[in-house]
């Protein structure tokens, strides 16, 4: 029999070695993705086989023969096979058509319009789909392909299976986008230990290195998203105080404004351009080169050739600064709002962390420095810092840690009430996990059902917020208007994911609601995708259930043995023999792969230890009674 450690109450024991798997940190970015691994609080990014770049461009190529290529190789095909390459797919995660209209024109692939439901209330809008080559794909599937590549990169670098990960998301990601990200991981065969907000991960990377205390701001301007977060670090606890951002603002917008400027200049020269997707991609590539060159240079000259009409352009740093000034101003105003939410002045902030490739742009750095009146920190590579933090968190979750991350919900959650007004149930910046209920009533005599519409956002009207789910609480018995008491409970877990339940309090009619993610993927679609894309989906599920059975059995054994040690005087030989025999059988079964046998023998252990448990409870009661007058006990 293996030696077992008995842990002090209240301490979280490390998982047993045999169940301890490698867990990595993944920054699933709009433009680039990075995977990292941490051991002993030292985190390193995982590079490709030849020790080159840590960055995997978030670009996927779908060949007509079904081959899927991810990363640099896919990015190299952007020009030649534009219609078969998907980039910046993160912008579409969990999004419906209405949301992407604004960006659709700038996307180099065709966005499929989901069927419009005839009755707006009968069906919810679906997530957008992409026409790529000869396939129709959801953003979730494309993201899953990127995640598979990161998983296999990690497995090659670590020479071990990798099944668990902490994946980062923008703090501003709503429930639909978070669910979509989790779905993508599921498709890629990755168990998500936790979704962590990107700025929080970045702060973690800096915090652990420097042992910092005080208030810190994380300014994260990536390819497609902007996030600003305020964190308080004290005694090993990282508390997110306030967070804000824009899910559709980033360095890609800098590229687009450069393209627009070039096209406007060509138009002035009398050139009429027709821009197909290949030309659009080439132009974006030129724009990116200009942007990157202007980080170190004051001006850059480029030649643009579309349909044999060549023009040359000179872009100076000052030109570029002027082009992007409105976008930078927007980030500054969001930052001020977030400071205000937390009732904090810029000078209270002890340090500012820069995250995201777009923070290399000098005008961005200058704006941040001037707002906070200090030079921002950037000694960790802004492209890698998020993955580094995610890896540290993955190690903390699997291996135990003295540090703790307390995060908040980024957007308020509410319900639609009369007249399309939103009644907020959980305010933004509330610490998670959280469970909150609110009571509603009927407004008509004899009303037997109630539509419950869950929305996320800060605006007062329903149509200005994001619709997350709708469901009907039915079976309310006939009552006068206002007599029913319907309690709707929102639960947000540590990943920031929501579940909702409703209950009529006077009768107990309950609606257990699987929140149908409005823009997410339905369970059916998910099952089909799993079938299509993963032959071993079933095995995978079995394996997970088996692991869970082993964890549960181990906990059972430890609990019984702890009790045997604590109350040894209550054990007679018969109990001891029965329990030890049951433990031995269960341990033997745990070496095997039959989940049912493990569960049955865990049940048998429970039965074998029942007489002992009863003696323990009886003694507890006797001890309590000994100190009391009989009159106090008998009713």
């Amino acid at each position: 029999m293996a030696l077992l450690t008995i842990h002090e109450p209240g301490q979280t024991p490390l998982p047993h070695e045999e169940e301890r798997k490698l867990a990595v940190g993944i920054d699933l970015g709009t433009t680039n993705s990075v995977v990292a691994m941490s051991r002993n609080e030292k985190s390193e990014v995982l590079r490709n086989a030849d020790g080159g770049s840590a960055i995997v461009p978030s670009v996927v190529h779908y060949a007509t023969d079904g081959t899927v290529t991810v990363g640099e190789d896919a990015r190299d095909l952007i020009d030649s096979e534009a219609s078969q390459v998907v980039s910046s797919v993160k912008r579409l995660m969990g999004r419906g058509l209405e949301d992407v209209k604004s960006v659709a024109g700038t996307l180099p692939y065709h966005v499929e319009i989901p069927e419009t439901p005839t009755d707006a209330n009968a069906a919810e809008p679906q997530m957008v789909r992409l026409n790529v080559g000869n396939r129709v794909l959801t953003p979730v599937e494309v993201s899953a392909d990127i995640l598979r590549t990161l998983k296999s990169r990690a497995e090659q670098a670590l020479e071990q299976d990798v099944e668990q990960a902490v994946i980062t998301v923008p703090a501003y990601f709503d429930d639909a986008a978070r669910t979509a990200t989790k779905d993508a991981a599921k498709l890629a065969g990755i168990e998500v230990l936790r979704l962590v907000n990107e700025p929080t991960a970045a702060a973690l990377a800096y915090g652990l290195d420097n042992g910092a205390e005080g208030l810190y701001a994380v300014y994260d301007l990536g390819g497609g998203t902007f996030d600003i977060s305020l964190l308080k670090m004290q005694k090993g606890v990282f508390q997110v105080k306030s967070t804000g951002g824009d899910a559709a603002l980033g360095g890609d917008d800098f590229d687009h404004v450069i393209v627009e400027t070039i096209l406007a200049a060509r138009k002035e020269q009398g050139i009429v351009d027709t821009i197909d997707s290949s030309a659009a991609k080439r132009l974006l590539k030129i724009a990116r080169a200009i942007k990157e060159a202007l980080t170190d240079q004051d001006q850059v000259d480029v030649a643009v050739d579309i349909n044999d009409a060549e023009t040359t352009h000179r872009v100076t740093r000052a030109d570029f600064d002027a082009m992007i000034a409105p976008m930078i101003a927007r980030t500054v105003s969001i930052t001020e709002q977030v400071l205000d939410d937390a009732d904090i002045l810029p000078e209270d902030v002890k340090g500012v962390v820069l995250v995201g490739g777009s923070t290399r742009v000098p005008a961005v750095r200058e704006a941040v420095a001037s707002l906070f009146e200090q030079e921002p920190l950037s000694n960790i590579d802004p492209d890698e810092v998020v993955a580094v933090g995610a890896a540290l968190q993955a190690e903390a979750l699997t291996g135990g840690s003295d540090n703790l991350l307390l995060d908040v919900i980024p957007l308020s959650l509410g319900l639609e009430t009369m007249g399309g007004i939103v009644e907020k149930v959980i305010d933004r910046n509330t610490p998670i996990p959280v469970a909150k209920g609110q009571e509603f009533t009927t407004y008509q005599d004899g009303q037997s059902a109630m539509m419950i519409h869950v929305v996320q956002g800060e605006r007062e009207m329903v149509d200005q917020c994001r619709s997350l789910a709708r469901f009907v609480l039915s079976g309310i018995p006939p009552m006068a208007a206002g007599a029913a008491r319907i309690r709707v409970t929102f639960q947000v877990d540590a990943d920031g994911l929501l579940t909702v339940s409703a209950r009529e309090e006077t009768t107990g009619v309950e609606q257990e609601v699987a929140v149908k993610p409005t823009y997410g993927i339905s369970e059916n679609d998910m099952a089909n995708m799993l079938r299509d894309s993963m032959v071993h989906a079933r095995d995978d599920m079995e394996l997970r259930l088996l692991t869970e059975a082993r964890v549960e059995a181990r906990r059972n054994i430890l609990a019984v043995q702890a009790a045997m040690k604590a109350d040894v005087e209550l054990l007679d030989d018969e109990d001891t023999a029965a329990i030890n025999a049951a433990v031995a059988e269960l341990e033997a079964a745990m070496q095997g792969d039959d989940r049912q046998v493990i569960n049955d023998l865990a049940e048998a252990l429970d039965t074998a230890s029942r007489p002992f448990a009863e003696k323990r409870m009886d003694r507890g009661i006797r001890r309590a009674l000994a100190g009391q007058n009989v009159n106090n006990v008998s009713p």
Binding site: Q11, E336, L404, L405, P433, A494, R555, M617, G620, A624
Partner: protein, 213 residues
């Protein structure tokens, strides 16, 4: 005697209940089982009991926060990422209850309302409900006009200072009313406090808008 007592399987006269994990006795208020170390369900603790402080409106919020962080260190779901589904779910419930307790006590308005409800008094005029105290309505109208008229940073700063002072004084009055059991007065004062804090926030927001422009 024994029969009567063992019928109370969930909680016996000592306030113990049965630990779901090792099946032995565990104190009803315990976060973890003494014997096997398993996390327990949150139970029906009130917010003050959760932090082991007296039911007094005047709370040392820094001390409560230290206690809150210490408990989160042990109870947060991040500590249970590799544990069984049941332990994960209990940790989730515990951490949510703890967040609720701290958030409620942290803010003087929600703390006052919570204490009124504990004493069976329903607080008046939550957000969106009408307030019918003419004196407060008049005061509110005047403050709002003053804020609308304030055109520069200095003027808004002056308003913020005034409102903050009024809020602090009002909070003291709330404390006296609630601790003294004068709930009618407490209801009115809490409404005023809520209003003053909202004004301060609006003034700060206006200042931020002015700075951004």
């Amino acid at each position: 005697m024994m029969t009567a007592a063992s019928e109370q399987s969930k909680s016996n006269p000592s306030g113990d209940k049965t630990c779901w994990s090792c099946k032995g006795p565990v104190a009803a208020v315990a976060l973890f089982c003494d014997t096997c170390g398993a996390i327990q369900a949150p139970g029906q603790l009130d917010h003050f009991a959760r932090f082991d402080i007296p039911r007094d409106f005047n709370v040392d919020i820094d001390a409560v926060e230290a206690q809150y962080l210490k408990q989160q260190q042990a109870l947060h779901p991040d500590r249970f990422a590799t544990k069984s589904a049941r332990e994960k779910s209990l940790s989730q419930q515990q951490a949510a209850s703890l967040n609720d307790a701290f958030e409620t006590l942290k803010n003087p308005v929600s703390r006052a309302e919570y204490m009124m409800r504990m004493n069976g008094v329903e607080p008046e005029g939550g957000e969106g409900q009408t307030v019918n105290d003419p004196a407060l309505l008049m005061e509110a109208m005047e403050m709002r006009e003053a804020l609308d008229d304030a055109g520069d940073r200095a003027a808004i700063d002056a308003i913020i200072r005034d409102v903050r002072k009024m809020a602090r004084d009002c909070e003291k009055e709330v404390a006296t009313a609630i601790n003294g059991g004068a709930y009618d007065a407490a209801r009115k004062l809490t409404t005023r406090l809520r209003y003053l804090l909202k004004m301060a926030q609006e003034a700060r927001a206006k200042k931020a808008r002015l700075a951004a422009a």
